[in-house]
Subunit: 291 residues, 2 copies
DNA sequence: ATGATTAATCGAAATTATCGATTGATATGA
DNA sequence: TCATATCAATCGATAATTTCGATTAATCAT
């Protein structure tokens, strides 16, 4: 059993297609087949069911997969530690983020990159659920999301960044733009463009609406936050977002919605009990110092 | 970086003497030196200080050592789990069954659990059609049902367990309780409580009745086999079931119905052409040995 | 039927690990 | 101080392993 074989196995298990997995790994399908077989021999157990031209994990394969992942990760963690020791002259930081925190992320990246120009950054956007999966599979180093800091999972370490309030976003020329608060009832009068139901903020909003038995005047749905703000900037529509999603549109105003259940926590989440890269610590410090 | 190299490293770090470590590992000192150097190259850091003929861990080596140990351990832990699985010290068995075979299933489960106490068992009751779907989607490992062993489906592997005969179930105090057979005509005279039409045995029975143009005196329908037997045990009603459904009611007698089309095969069915878990094989052996 | 897709297999080539012998450095002890 | 023993590094040769490319056989979709 070698790390190489475990890496091949994990990729094959993820793809459930030897040819494509081999492609990913930059080896031939023949090599992959051979090495998987070799691994199966040393483990004395079949890892894949070969059903015709299909492959599928056996029970043993399902069991071995998380061990393989953990083994590989463990080795890489040690390597990462050594690299960090080399004074952040190298390294890689993989950040997951939900779309609602795009603006926060982008604001944080600029100073981080200035401070550590040699740290390679990789951003992965996705849903909170996607991210949680990736965190557990060690695919990302940390994630920015609206996860309650009370969310209970011993595999996770969740740090609160700030509270964010569900807000009506209007152009500064809008008659309400100077108001300190606004009720949902009033918002129902306005023409709105909202984020698609695939966004967690939309689910949050829909929950609130259902609880208060209010329905809105939704003229458009769109699955990109930046486009949403651009449309609001045309003065033709208004939208609803967490106020933290609004950053560098100088002409837009966020008016918090009145009510107690309108707040969510923006948090940064890490896999618990594993060594935290220097780059991750630096990035986190940058974020928390900001608030 | 390979597990082999990590193992060499750990031994060398423990011995702080390459020659002796190499001896322990059954390789030559030359090989050990070479592989350590290779590891140092991929990690881009020196793991040992070579002071004259002495070797001693560097700071990096000290850091890497626990990671190397953990990595190796992680891999071996997975291997151990698979080994256990192979000896049925672990594992999971998902069995589908139709309600009519509840008693058979329960009788088989006790000795199985005694033999393999660490195998987790999950039972899924449902109709034969449900089960067939689940089998094809690999959601269950096997199913117990009254499926004809001649049922033709290349995706399935069907093994006959025994023949079961449609029977009148009466209390031992019933005047007919010593009879060897009884005709459907006679049964029509008795007050009956029958399984609901959602059960396959009921469909089977209804088919037989239609073919013979007989109708019964049904006072109650109930969708639970055990309750059916309890009601029969009160002497107030009688019922009709496959004789194999009757197990541990000592005071009840099953009188086979006369006729050639009264038999059905109890079978165990597997998805064909896929790896069969050790637990499945053991469970099947236990069942077939019983008959 | 037919063509496309996929995993297994086989022999050859490339790469890598291992060995044995040697070297050079350095402790140790007379 | 000098000989000797010990130890890791190095080198060239060999053995083992990995990888590749081509082919086969099975099966899936049309």
């Amino acid at each position: 059993m070698e790390l190489r074989q475990l890496k091949y196995f994990v990729r094959a298990a993820e793809r459930l297609n030897f040819t494509k997995a081999a492609d990913d790994l930059c080896i031939t399908q023949s090599t992959l087949s051979h090495q998987i077989k070799e691994l199966e021999n040393t483990l004395n157990v079949l890892l894949f069911d070969r059903i015709g031209k299909r492959v599928k994990l056996t029970e043993a394969g399902e069991i071995m997969l998380p061990y393989a992942r953990k083994t590989i990760h463990q080795a890489e963690e040690g390597q990462q530690f050594l690299q960090d020791l080399n004074e952040l002259k190298a390294g890689k930081l993989i950040i997951g983020a939900t779309y609602g925190l795009t603006e926060l992320l982008i604001q944080a990246l600029a100073p981080f990159n200035q401070a550590y120009p040699n740290v390679q950054i990789q951003i992965v956007f996705g849903s909170t659920a996607d991210m949680l999966l990736k965190i557990k599979q060690y695919e990302i180093d940390c994630m920015l999301s609206f996860l309650p800091s009370s969310y209970n999972d011993s595999d996770l370490d969740i740090v609160k960044l700030f509270d964010s309030t569900l807000s009506l976003i209007v152009h500064e020329s809008h008659p309400w733009s100077q108001q300190k608060q606004v009720t949902l009832q009033k918002v129902a009068e306005l023409p709105l463009v909202l984020p698609s139901p695939s966004y967690s903020i939309r689910n949050f909003l829909d929950d609130v609406l259902a609880k208060n038995n209010i329905s809105l005047n939704v003229t458009m749905e769109i699955n990109d936050i930046h486009s949403l703000l651009k449309l609001t900037n045309t003065r033709q529509w208004n939208t609803i977002l967490m106020n933290s999603s609004l950053f560098d549109f100088a002409e837009l105003k966020a008016i918090p919605l009145e009510g107690s259940q309108m707040q969510r926590e923006a948090t940064i989440t890490f896999p618990a009990d594993v060594y935290r890269k220097k780059a991750v610590v630096a990035f986190t410090k940058l974020l928390t110092n900001h608030f």
